[in-house]
Structure formats: C-alpha cells, structure tokens
Amino acid sequence: MHNHTLTDSVRYSYVRVLSLLTLDMQKGRLPETYVFFLSKQHREVVLFKAFAKLRVEASRYYLGFLWWVFHPLLTMAIFYLVFHVLLQRGEPDYVAFLLIGVTTWHWFSNTISHSMNSIWGGGSLMSQVDIPKVVFPCVIIVLDTIKFSFVFLILLIFLIIYGHTPDVKYISLPLILLVQLLVITAGAFLVAAVVPFMPDLEYVFGVLLRLMLFLSGIFYSSERIPEKYKEYFYLNPMANLIESYRAVMMKHDWPDWTSLGLVANAAIIGIVATNLFIKRFDRLYPRICP
C-alpha cells in the first residue's frame, strides 16, 4: 500500500481514460456499444423505480400525494399575495409572468440538483447488479417530471383564472415542454456523470444553478438586457425556453421556432455525448462510488 498524491491519481485517471478510448477506436467498438439508450427491460426498471419512489414519498405524509397539488398551489398563492396584492407591481400580468418563469425553472433546477447524486449515491446498488448507469439519472428525470406535471396543470388553471384563456397556439406547448425535457436530460446526465469523479463539483454546480436562476430572465423581461449582452443572454437554454413559454401562454403568440430548434439540437448533442461518457465508464463507476 503506497501513498499517492493527487497529481498521481489525476495522471492515473487521465492515462486510463485515454487508453480505454484509444482501445475502443482501434476495435471500432464505438457505434454499437454506445449508441443505444436503454433496453426495454431497463426502461421498466426506470419506470418502476420512479413510481416506487413516488409511492414511498406519498406514504410518508398524511395528505400523501395531495401535497404535490397543495405545495405548488401555496407557493403560487404566496407569489400572488406578495406581487399582486402587496407590492402592486405596475407591469401588466407580472404574477403570470413570474409564475411561468418560476415553475418551469424549478422543473429544471430540481431535476439537475437531484441528479447530481444519482450515480454517486447508487454505489451500493451498482456493486451488486450490472445495470447501465444512465438508469440512475433517468429515474430522477421521470420522478421530477411527474411532479412537474401537477405543477404545470395548476399553472394552466391559474392562467385561465387570471384571464389567459388557451387558444390554438397552445398546441405548441407540448413541443416546448419536450425541448425542455431534452435540455433537462442533457443537464442531468452531465452532472450525474462527472460528480462521481470529483464530488466537489456538487458545490460548483450548486453555485452555477444559482447564477443561472438570475440569468434566465425569470424575474425580469429580456428587454431589460443591454443590446450588447443579448447574444450571451440567449446562450442560456432556459432563457430561450422561458421566453417561448411566455410568448405562447401570455402573449398568445407562436414561440420563436429558430431558438427552439437550436436549443433542441444542442440538447440532443448533449444527451448523446453525456450518454456516451456514462456508458464508457460503466464499469468504472462501481469502483469510485462508495
């Protein structure tokens, strides 16, 4: 047993990663090993595990799954009370504006922050069964998406009460939701993949999420951003998505198709790349996760 410094272990992991990837390319193994996402059997694992977790969560409280309705309802009531009744913000529709941003942002940030620990915390399970490690973040994504669906339903009801009745342009909503799901998946895979290699990244990602919260135009409209910073502002996929939601749900307009398309493309590339990464180190994760 020897003591090694950090540089040794970094060099060790670097050489290891490099040699494994070269070996793969020599064998021409990249395509068939990495492209496929999840088998039918593993999709069953994901769904059953997500529903089992929901069931467990519901059984923990007296009101059970009713909390998934009450909790967002109360949160929205607070926003209404503070910004509509108390502060009487001058901007028209500020509460609707705010709630669209806040709810969709929470879907993103909750899933990402829950995913950070998904592979890292699955150590005891993955040392006993050979399952693809993407299963872990997938469970979180399914779980948080189901919870978000309740929130989104309440948001729709709230908007109707607020005077924004759905019109024909609402048919673009499922598409925006799908693009956001792609973005969330890419982000969740990324954080789940790298945290086991360096757990300290949890703090870094936490700070980045906080930064993104203020840079996604949740509390302010993008018109407030100075012209010269606008192109940087729109590098943030959540800023694009939130603006699309508002276009459809508040301005009764179509979303910005080009921005949606770009975000969707970037997200798909992100999913493929991170999925590749996780699959490559499938056998390494059981050894670095406690």
Binding site: N3, Q128, D130
Partner: protein
C-alpha cells in the same frame, strides 16, 4: 464428492486479473489498494465453484469481476457469451415499500421483466413463507423475513449462471436448511454456479471445485477437499 463429469467448456475465463482501488486518505492524498492481483482460472459449464478466503481477502471483488460489474485494471475477464446474475440478499430493497413491490423491483434489478416476476409472485410468497405480510411495508418485517423474501425472489426467478455472495448465512435454522436444500438441487441440476462464503461447511456441501484467495492473491485451486484442507492448515498457522 459428486462424481458427475465436468465438461471442459469454459463459461468465463480470467487471465491475470488485477483490481486496484483508490482511497482518499486526506486532502490531496490518496492511497492505492490492491484488491486482486494476477488471478487466473476458468469457470466451466455445469460446475459449481466455491470461492473461499478470510474477511477482506478479495472474494467479493472477485465475484463482481465474474458478474461483469467491475472491469479489471490489468488482465482480462472473458465471458464466453453467457448471462450472469449476482445474487445477494435484498438488492435495492426499500423499507417503505411493500414486500410485493420490493420483490418486483428486486427482480427487475436482477435483469428480469416485470411480467416474469408477477407470474411467479405466488411461488415467491409461498417459498418465503410471508402470507399476508407481502402487502405491508418492509419496515414491518423481521430481518429473517426480509432475508427470506430476497432469497426467494433470486431463487424462483432461476437465472442462467448463479453467482451467490454469502446468501446462506441468514434466516432461522429451518429456512436455512430449506434454502440450502434448494440450492443443492439447483447446483446438482447441472447449473453453473459460483458461491462465495467463508463458511467451509457450505462450500464443502455445495461445491465441486474451490478457489482460495488471500490478500488478493490466488493461494489454491482444485477439488474442494484438497483446497479446504490446505485452507484449514493455513488458518491454524495464522488465525484471522
């Protein structure tokens, strides 16, 4: 021992397998720990192989390499195209979930489809002797009941290659006898099986061939009786 001829077809081959772990031992310091060093042997079709050794000798790491969960750092583990299932008690059990849901989850994690588990649910419940407890959450179970449930799922689902990690050491005496008997039937029905244990009695009863490892090194391999007598001599000299 069983006089059944061992066919020479190899199921899994290990060649010079070494596994190392990095352990963080302080800020910017890590230590390297060798769990397995230069292990080579073949697992043959239809045989039951025992793996014996003291605590921390690398038994569990070895069976994880065989199951394809861990990739060796050096050497190779070649699986000649067979599916494996590592059975240890209660994989992925959640104490807030009912026994039925835990059984399904456990089966799914072992690589089976949901309908396979559901179809065999009555068998599983009967073998585990759980009756109406099956629909109550797991935290209401005694530890023996949990072990019985885990064991029944693994056994009733009937995987191709059994890799068993210390599964026979739990439950009350009666259930232990019952499960030991079923295991013996399974193993004698020409099934390929690997059993990890530090109980020499279990190994002697169930395994034709035994691998003995200590401190990650292969110390002996061959017919169970020979290896076990060597192992016993070793324990007398150097009690753990």
């Amino acid at each position: 021992m069983s006089a059944e001829p061992i066919s020479s077809e190899n199921v899994i081959s290990l060649r010079g397998v070494g596994v190392r772990f990095y352990r963080r031992s302080g800020l910017f310091r890590q230590s390297l720990f060798t769990a397995l060093h230069d292990i080579s042997f073949d697992l043959q079709m239809g045989e039951s192989l025992g793996i014996i050794g003291r605590n921390g000798s690398g038994k569990s790491t070895l069976i994880r390499v065989l199951a394809g969960i861990i990739e060796p750092d050096s050497g190779v583990c070649i699986n000649h195209g067979y599916s494996t299932a590592l059975l240890s008690m209660g994989i992925g059990f959640d104490k807030m979930l009912s026994g039925r849901h835990n059984a399904i989850l456990n089966g799914l994690l072992l690589g089976f489809r949901k309908r396979d588990v559901v179809n065999r649910m009555s068998d599983i419940i009967a073998f585990a002797e759980l009756d109406d407890f099956i629909d109550h959450p797991l935290y209401t179970y005694s530890s023996g009941m949990r072990a019985r449930l885990g064991f029944s799922v693994a056994l009733k689902l009937d995987p191709d290659i059994l890799l068993v990690d210390e599964a026979l050491g739990v439950g009350d005496a009666q259930f232990k006898a019952k499960s030991s008997e079923v295991m013996q039937q399974k193993i004698q029905s020409n099934r390929t099986a690997v059993l990890v244990s530090h109980s020499t009695d279990v190994i002697r009863k169930l395994c034709q061939r035994t691998v003995w490892i200590d401190h990650g090194e292969l110390c002996g391999m061959g017919p169970t009786d020979e290896v076990l007598s060597k192992y016993h001599r070793f324990l007398k000299i150097e009690p753990s």
